[in-house]
């Protein structure tokens, strides 16, 4: 045990962990310095750093006044994350200093030999796009902790819409049905990820939302009644011009357009529109017999008829004079070898994943065993307001 004796020549340390008897003495002792301790040596005094090479003082850490640990970064960038996360890179950029600057210790920053080396490409992205990457453990832990104790009325404010606790409950239920409140935010975040990491994608595509499908479906009877005089309204034309949904781009520079398709409030499909070839691929996660296939094709046929009118009214042919604005309907086929669901509730996740895979130029290759993982991943990503790469 170190001494608290008045005759101690070294800097007296703060009264931490003395024996019980000594503690009682300390409290009984008057504060006027009769026990030999100077008054300015209490814990509230400003901390003087120990000079290296000076006299070694035992328990010198106890002189440090209490300061809360300050971590400015978010939890996703923590060191125990299983992969290099994108959010960590953004954090690192903030600490950047230029070569030649003088540091606060008086030394000059030199360029790292990794950067000078011709064998490494500093511009190369370290994060590779991987749709089946495991969920970041720290993010998952943080979400679990919130979700476990969150009351039923708790709401999460994502950048798209405010979602309640039941949103996550429905999303995380096995075979839970998804509604447009799930589809729309997730599609928004898929769009946003594409928009934020433009260089990672070579194709150009537009990912639409449920509002587009409902608008097409709702206006289809009107179109049928007056197809010669029909002209699309601003809601629909804004999609072609790239004004909505945000963030989006004009269809003139798009190759493909992906649309979530709903059938009768009971089933989700994904439609992939090839604008140049005037063709629609319909991805049905629950493809049954011929009767069911015809039912789905019948449901989605409004797209084939309405899209030519929409392209004409939205000004798609404005800068492409070579393409004649024909009003012939698009062709549509059902994709036969797409993954299929094995239960009666997962088709929303399948439709989302079809769009996500196709928009990132990958073949939809997942199975029913992955769906629970995808659900969890969407929930964690929505909690952190950003889809992981």
């Amino acid at each position: 045990m170190h001494s608290h004796s008045p005759s101690s020549s070294v800097r007296p340390s703060s009264p931490v962990a003395p024996s019980v008897g000594e503690q009682a003495e300390e409290f009984d002792a008057p504060i006027d310095g009769s026990n030999g301790r100077k008054e300015d040596d209490d814990c509230t005094a400003p901390f003087e750093p120990i000079v290296p090479g000076g006299p070694y003082v035992e328990d010198s850490w106890a002189l440090v006044p209490y300061r809360p640990l300050h971590f400015g970064w978010d939890i996703g960038a923590s060191a125990d994350s299983p992969h290099h996360d994108q959010s960590a890179e953004i954090e690192v950029e903030d600490w950047k200093h230029n070569v030649g600057d003088t540091s606060r210790f008086g030394r000059v920053y030199h360029q790292s030999h990794h950067v000078i080396s011709p064998y490494t490409d500093p511009c190369k992205k370290k994060v590779k796009f991987n749709l089946t990457r495991p969920i970041d453990a720290s993010k998952e832990r943080a979400f679990d902790e919130w979700y476990r104790v969150a009351p039923k009325e708790a709401t999460m404010c994502t950048s798209y819409m405010t979602v309640g606790n039941e949103f996550f409950a429905e999303l995380l239920t096995d075979e839970g049905w998804l509604n447009s409140d799930h589809i729309d935010p997730i599609l928004y975040f898929i769009r946003k990820r594409r928009f934020d990491n433009e260089k990672m994608f070579t194709n150009t595509c537009a990912i639409l939302d449920v509002l587009f499908w409902s608008s097409i479906k709702g206006r289809y009877p009107i179109w049928r009644a007056s197809r010669s005089t029909y002209s699309c309204d601003a809601t629909l034309c804004n999609y072609v011009r790239g004004r909505s949904p945000k963030p989006s781009m004009s269809w003139q520079i798009c190759d493909y357009v992906y649309i979530p398709v709903n059938n009768g409030g009971a089933h989700w499909l994904a439609a992939c529109v090839d604008l140049k070839a005037r063709h629609i691929d319909l991805y049905d996660p629950n493809m049954g017999n011929k009767y069911v296939q015809n039912r789905e094709l019948k449901n989605a046929e409004c797209l084939t008829y309405m899209l030519p009118y929409l392209l004409r009214d939205g000004g798609y042919y404005g800068k492409n004079p070579d393409v004649s604005p024909t009003l012939d309907p698009f062709t549509m086929t059902m994709i036969k070898d797409a993954p299929r669901q094995d239960n009666g509730g997962d088709c929303g996740v399948y439709a989302l994943k079809f769009i996500e895979y196709m928009s990132s130029e990958e073949n939809p290759s997942f199975g029913p065993q992955d769906i629970m993982f995808f659900r969890k991943k969407y929930a964690v990503d929505l909690y952190f307001n950003k889809l992981s790469m």
Partner: protein, 100 residues
Amino acid sequence: MGENDRENKKRKVIDETPTISLKVKSQDNDERYFRIRRDSPLLRLMRAYCEKKQFEFRYIRFFYDGQYIRPNQTPDSLGLEDGAEIDALTPQSGGGWRSF
């Protein structure tokens, strides 16, 4: 005289606060027009629309330019202009069915 003053004051207040007219469009192209102050939350417009159309409020979503509108947003915060169009959407659900 006092009543007249009060009316004048009311009119003055109404005239001073800028209002805009908004068009709310449902999916079957049914259009309703609403007048709303620039600084009042759009929750009032949403409630009025649902009352007119006899919908339940929590089953309707409102979009402007494909952007989800929160009830506490105002025309000013959204940057709505006079005659702007708002889309009303009934949320749709789906899970698939056992057809085999």
